[in-house]
Symmetry: C2
Subunit: 117 residues, 2 copies
């Protein structure tokens, strides 16, 4: 059984629990492994540079995005493994053991989660 570091989970959830950061994270997921420089993200989200830094750091500290420098820009990219880890944690701990078959899906990739309340 998977044991979870609760505070890491809370940190990841808190990082995503903000309009701006959720939009930012989604933008990076869409963009893929290449990522985007901070400046571009700030412009697209219409957020001043210092505010943008505040939010990307929040996501970075939570381990949800990666950071790398290219020349004088800092590139941020989504860390897919981290999100999958978070989803796995939620699935393992919070999904009503058996009443809802979400963990044993063997068919299509997301077949079991297509239905939403």
């Amino acid at each position: 059984m998977l044991v979870v570091d609760t505070s890491a989970t809370v940190q990841a959830l808190a990082a995503l629990a903000h309009e701006t950061r959720l939009a930012l994270y989604r933008m990076l997921v869409e963009r893929g492994p290449d990522g985007l420089p901070a400046g571009v993200i700030a412009e697209r989200l219409n957020v001043p540079p210092s505010s943008l830094t505040f939010h990307v750091q929040h996501l970075h500290r939570a381990g949800l995005i990666t950071q790398r420098r290219v020349g004088r820009q800092l590139i941020y990219a989504a860390d897919y493994a981290a999100m999958n880890g978070l989803i796995a944690t939620l699935t393992e701990n919070c999904c009503g053991r058996g009443s809802v078959p979400l963990r044993r899906a063997r068919g299509g990739p997301t077949a079991a989660v297509r239905r939403s309340a």
Copy 2:
């Protein structure tokens, strides 16, 4: 295609992004459909009544738990469909567009999930 209400997603994430509330939610998931009265939850979490109310309402407003009255006690229970909806939303929007296997639940450690036997 799954329709996503961003602010509802943020609200659900924020509701879970707190040590006490995550513990509370997990307790209700373990307990199952019968749920638990507020008093019992408060005692088990070692939280004063008024603080407990604050947290259960947070989860209830986010739609993650249900509330019903039995006699003079209020019973709270996990709403599994809501959590599955949240997970579906995260999977649809934030997981690298099908390129990433959702199937890893006990692979390598990630930033959000750690072993702590």
